[in-house]
């Protein structure tokens, strides 16, 4: 916009300046060093600068001046070329007053007594052109000028607009690319067009970031692998030496082994989900079946005898379908359940419910355990991997899994009273049965 205004102002100024200059030379009063026809007239009249000064000036510029009376006879002259020193007829005067005098550009001034003063410039030193046109045409010209101005303005605006469209077209994918890069997703921009170099650099940056992520993911994966085998040995030994006297300690070792296992798995999957390395496989699943299977899996694989559980799966949820990745849902349920049993004392009651409600399937897992302070709860919604704290990783992964399913999650707690997670996942709207 600023550019447009600037353009307009510049145009108007240029036009005015041109007119002003044009007007000056039209009057032709000032030719050299501030000396013009009027000075010649004055000198001839005996009132202006001295005759010697004028002579010197005219010589400097190869110019000349003369005056003829009404009869065409030369009455005064300075530096007049020989071939011009003759009497002038009316026809001659008519000719040179408008055009040239023998190829010399001249300016003329007619005095009241009918004498004519002439200032001549060297041959070829100036162009003289008299414009004569019908008044009607002048009006057209006057009209044409604003039209041309407007036209060039529109042309300019169009160029400006098409340029900005082109720029936006070229820049938009780059901006998207930067966003993707920031989010750690792969960037692959076409390496053509005016901004090809920028695209190339972005692609390269993405490739490098990707490589680093791959290396890190691979590393985490390997570390988690390497941790699992010794854990299996520790857990197995604890089971092997378990007897009535030390059952409490052996169970504690096993519980902590499972805690470490869950931590390692969470770390691994969290990293992969963050960088989009595990593509979720969505299938249409019965909501009740999906969550029931996940719960049963968890209970079957973990020692839940010491945690009284109440499960309430709504009959309406049996008929409800969701689009879900079975593995991720298993992980979601297992992380939420593990959170309740790992941090709470034996005997903590756990309530699980699955219901269909307002087009969403609602999973609630609530324990009557030690709960969590409000500020700790707030931190669970943190999704920036840089701000992660090791505490609450499992719940954060749960939140991420729900997000992958286009759902929402809420954590609620009252310290010393309860901790509750409510996950909502949109259901697939069924077509009317036929």
């Amino acid at each position: 916009m600023t550019l447009i205004v600037l353009f307009f102002v510049t145009n108007v100024c240029a036009f005015l300046l041109f007119l002003t200059l044009f007007g000056l030379s039209q009057q032709g009063e000032i030719l050299y060093d501030g000396v013009g026809l009027q000075d010649v007239v004055d000198t001839f009249d005996g009132t202006g600068i001295s005759r010697d000064d004028l002579t010197e000036l005219l010589q400097t510029y190869d110019s000349f001046a003369f005056r003829i009376d009404a009869g065409g006879n030369i009455v005064d002259q300075i530096g007049l070329p020989e071939e011009l020193n003759h009497q002038y007829s009316i026809a001659d005067v008519a000719g040179f007053s408008r055009w040239y005098l023998d190829d010399y550009p001249v300016k003329t001034e007619i005095a009241d007594d009918g004498s004519i003063t002439v200032l001549g410039l060297p041959e070829g030193s100036a162009v003289r052109y008299n414009i004569i046109m019908p008044l009607q045409n002048v009006a057209w010209y006057l009209l044409l000028i604003p039209i041309l101005l407007l036209g060039s303005l529109f042309l300019f605006l169009y160029l400006q607009w098409s340029d900005s469209v082109k720029t936006r077209k070229a820049v938009e994918p780059i901006l998207n690319g930067i966003d993707k890069l920031a989010a750690g997703r792969p960037v692959n921009l076409p390496e053509t067009g005016p901004l090809a170099q920028v695209n190339e650099e972005l692609n390269e940056a993405s490739r490098k970031a990707r490589q680093r992520e791959d290396v890190r993911t691979e590393w985490i994966s390997e570390v988690s692998h390497d941790i699992r085998t010794p854990l299996a040995v520790i857990s197995g030994c604890a089971e092997a030496v378990e007897n009535e006297d030390n059952a409490r300690y052996c169970r504690r070792i096993q519980a902590n082994v499972m805690k470490l296992r869950s931590l390692v798995e969470t770390l691994n999957l969290n990293n992969k989900l963050t960088y989009g390395l595990v593509p979720a496989v969505f299938k249409e699943e019965s909501a009740a079946g999906l969550f029931r299977d996940a719960l049963i899996d968890f209970i079957n694989e973990n020692n839940m005898e010491l945690f009284p559980m109440e499960t309430d799966i709504g009959t309406e949820a049996e008929e409800t379908a969701v689009s879900a990745d079975r593995n991720l849902i298993e992980r979601l349920v297992s992380n939420l359940m593990a959170n309740s049993i790992v941090h709470n004392p034996d005997g903590t009651r756990i309530d699980v419910s699955v219901h269909s409600e307002n087009g969403e399937i609602v999973l609630k897992i609530r324990d009557s355990g030690i709960g969590m302070e409000e500020e700790e709860v707030e931190k669970l919604y943190e999704s920036n991997p840089e701000n992660y704290e090791s505490h609450g990783q499992g719940l954060r992964l749960a939140a991420k899994i729900v997000k992958v399913h286009n759902g929402s999650i809420r954590f609620r707690s009252e310290p010393g009273e309860y901790f509750e997670t409510e996950a909502r996942i949109p259901v697939i709207q069924k077509q009317a049965a036929d």
Partner: protein, 231 residues
């Protein structure tokens, strides 16, 4: 776990010597007296050439030939049940394992009792012809004759009751969901069968429980399914 000696030949294939020794120990203490351990796939191939085991516990990640490659090689010639042991625990691995013909899948670290449950379940599925009497708290069930023995009394199980009992028995100690029991009884299309299933469960309880109102062997896990507790 029962203290009876079990005759099944088991083969453990894992390069982690410590873990495979521990598994061997646990299995032997649970009655599996015929357990061999191989420290590599190549080693396992040599052992199998001397006679196929009844069940193989196969680690995925091993130097040289890995678990998947060995499984593929085994499946070229044999249907021997294989339980994969993995330290990765990722979805792709799980599906790759099942796709390659594994019978079950365990993620390290696992509880030894979990391993024993899985071994027993897989063996029961793989060798159903073996004569077996299941001891419950208040009755014994003769699987060959589909009969419940209670003191002097002998009660016969119907076909559906038997199918449901078998499913619970194969997964004894673990929860089996209502839908999966319905599927066992009537196949894929089971919707609406839940109430009939409850009738079968009631009849089963009348046959195997001392007090069907307070079941001790065939217990309900509210909201999830049923579980068979073996003595």
């Amino acid at each position: 776990m029962t203290e009876n000696n079990k005759l099944e030949k088991l083969l453990i294939v894992d390069d982690e010597r410590e873990l495979s020794e521990l598994m061997k120990d646990s299995l032997e203490r649970s009655g599996y007296k015929n357990v061999t351990a191989a420290s590599s796939a190549e080693d396992a191939v040599r052992i199998m050439n001397g006679g196929m085991p009844d069940l193989i516990l196969l680690d995925v990640m091993m130097p040289g030939m890995d678990g998947f490659e060995l499984l593929a090689k085994i499946r070229e010639t044999s249907k021997v049940p294989v339980i994969m042991l993995t330290a990765k625990g990722e979805a792709e691995d799980k599906y790759r394992g099942f796709g390659a013909g594994a019978d079950d899948y365990l993620v390290k670290p696992f509880l030894m009792r979990e391993l024993l449950f899985r071994i027993e379940a897989v063996l029961r599925r793989a060798y159903p012809e073996k004569s077996r009497i299941v001891r419950l708290k208040n009755a014994r069930v003769d699987l060959d004759r589909a009969e419940v023995l209670r003191g002097e009394e002998t009660l016969t199980l119907t076909a559906k009751e038997y199918a449901i009992f078998m499913k619970l028995y194969e997964n004894s100690g673990r929860i089996v969901s209502t839908p999966s029991l319905c599927q066992t009884a009537v196949g894929e299309v089971w919707t609406g069968y839940e109430s009939t299933l409850m009738t079968h469960i009631r009849h089963l309880r009348e046959k195997i429980e001392a007090d069907p109102g307070k079941p001790e062997s065939l217990v309900t896990v509210r909201g999830l399914g049923y579980k068979l507790v073996i003595k």
